[in-house]
Every structure is written in C-alpha cells, then in structure tokens.
C-alpha cells in the first residue's frame, strides 16, 4: 500500500501529459519549429514554479513525509557528457516525438507502436551501460 501514492501521482502525470497534448509528436514538431508558445509555456511555467518552490524548500529546510530533510544533490561537473548525451537524446526526441514519460502515456492512450520506441529506449540504455567506460564524461 505504500506505493499507492506513487501510482496516483503517475496517473496525474499521464493525464496532464495527455490532456495538455504534450505527449503528441505534433506538439514536439511545433516546438522545434518555434511555431507556438504552448510547449514553452508548459516547461516555462513548471520551471518558474520549480525554482521558487525549491528555493523555499532550501530556505525553510522543509522536510519530507518521513521527517527527513529534502536534499538536492549537485550533478557532477562536466560539459561533454551533458552536451553529447543531450544532443543524442534530442535527436531521438524529435524523431519519435516523445521522451520516456510521454512514451508510456501514449501506450496507455492506445498507440501500441510506442511500445517499440520504449523497448528500444531500454536497449539504448543497455548499450550505454556496456560502452560507458569508453565514452568521454
């Protein structure tokens, strides 16, 4: 039962991705063609509220449900891994019109071909695990 809250938050995520059309390949194309504000508005609103909220959590040292402090872990410093990895991700994002979350929302919506995309995303992650020691980080 301790997992039920994660299931409900996941359901909310699926509904918001579907109802705001953010899981649509068309919307991702529109974004990369700079032809509407919609996707920028979604990400922008989430980030602005996120920055404010994270600052409040840090300032007042807010704790989580179990009473532990909410901590933010700085990601390791690098440029090359974020730039190259990010670019590879972006190529796939624009091609399939979906990042990992929206992929599974699409599957639930009935687009079963997105299961192929998700399966190969898992294969891509597996491939990264096999070659990571040979990649610049």
């Amino acid at each position: 039962m301790k997992f039920i809250k994660f299931l409900l938050v996941g359901v909310l995520f699926g509904i918001v991705m579907a109802k705001s059309e953010a899981f649509s390949w068309y919307r991702i194309q529109e974004m990369f063609r700079f032809q509407a504000f919609h996707m920028y508005g979604i990400i922008g609103t989430a980030v602005v509220l996120g920055v404010i909220g994270v600052a409040i959590i840090k300032k007042f040292q807010i704790r989580d449900v179990e009473g532990n402090p909410i901590l933010f872990h700085p990601k390791e410093k690098s440029v090359v891994r974020y730039l190259i990895g990010g670019t590879l991700f972006g190529l796939g994002w624009a091609l399939s019109g979906a990042c990992p979350g929206p992929m599974v929302v699409s599957i639930g919506y009935g687009y079963l071909s997105l299961a192929v995309v998700f399966l190969f995303a898992t294969v891509g992650t597996l491939f990264y695990g096999l070659i990571k020691d040979h990649l610049p980080h």
Binding site: F6, G92, A94, F127
Partner: protein, 185 residues
C-alpha cells in the same frame, strides 16, 4: 466538471501540475526523473551480470516503476473518459510545414504516418521507431537524465549541468527537425 476537464488543458495548467508532481515526489522523499526507469528495467532483467552500471539494488527504484504504471493508466483514462476525440490543436504554420513533408492534417494526437500499426510493420516505419527510441535511451543515460530529470528537476535547482543538457536536447531536436527530416521524409 467532466466536460471542463475533457477540453485540451492550457499550458499554464499543465506547467503548474507538472511542478506539483515534482514537489509531491520530493515531499515523498523521492525525485522526479523518468528515464531512470530504463536503467532499472535493465537491472531487473539481469543486466548487472554484463555491466556494473546495472549492478545496484533496483528494489529501491520500484516506486518509480509504480509511477510509470500510473502514467500508462493516466493515458488510458484520458483516452477513455476525458477525451473529446478531437485532433491536436497545433498551429496552421506547423500543419503546412508537415504537409510539405508528406504528413496529412492531424486527425488525432499522433500521426498515422509514423505510429499506426501499418506503419510499424514497414521497414522504414519500424526503423524510425527503433532508432528514435534507441537515441532517447542512450542519450538520456549518457546525459544523466531526460526532460523530467534535467529540464524540470535540475533547472528548478538552478544546476548548470542540467542547463547544458537542455542545450543539448534542443541542439539535437533542431538538427533532427531542420536537417534530417527533409532527408528522410
């Protein structure tokens, strides 16, 4: 109420709910990052025996798989109960651009040219699904996160690595859209 919810949601409602999801997960002692699930699935499948990268206690990540299951259910609920069945409301300019590439005017939320089962069983169609997915999976792990982990969670914490990753996300997306799409469609 249902009629109201069934309309497409505006950007500010969506952005607000997404940040609320991030804060709920933080409040539950976790963090918002969806692509970690791909690594967890590899680990669960026994990939720890071929790479140390997958040799970790994946049971600590089950909560995120439950979140993933919820996302699938959320997609299903949206389709079955909260949808008016309308086509996606994209701009006329995008419709024209996509028609020039051979995509017909949207009639639903995803193009049949890419995602119908007929397209999936063609060599070209399957290849595009597979390559797109592969690049997302490889790139997100190399960059240490996807849109949720970097663009939302990381930038909310003003982390420079996440900002660099998002520059990469857009570089790749623009290259694919403007340089590679005209070659493959």
């Amino acid at each position: 109420m249902i009629e109201f919810i069934s309309q497409p949601w505006s950007w500010w409602v969506s952005g607000t709910v997404i940040s609320a999801i991030m804060f709920l997960l933080l409040f539950f002692g976790k963090s918002f990052g969806f692509s970690s699930n791909l690594r967890t699935i590899c680990a669960m499948s026994g990939a720890g025996s071929i790479s140390k990268f997958f040799d970790f206690n994946w049971k600590t990540q089950v909560w995120n798989l439950v979140f993933l299951a919820g996302a699938i259910i959320g997609g299903f609920i949206s389709k079955e109960f909260l949808s008016t069945g309308e086509a996606v409301q994209i701009s006329e300019a995008t419709i024209r651009d996509l028609q020039a590439l051979g995509f017909s005017k949207p009639v639903s939320v995803q193009p049949d040219e890419l995602f119908s089962l007929e397209a999936m069983f063609t060599m070209k169609g399957f290849s595009m699904l597979a390559i797109g997915g592969f690049l997302v999976g490889l790139g997100s792990r190399y960059a240490g996160g996807c849109t949720s982990g970097h663009a939302i969670s990381g930038i909310s914490d003003l982390q420079v690595p996440s900002m660099i990753a998002v520059v990469g996300f857009f570089s790749g997306g623009l290259i694919m859209t403007w340089l590679i799409y005209p070659l493959i469609f």
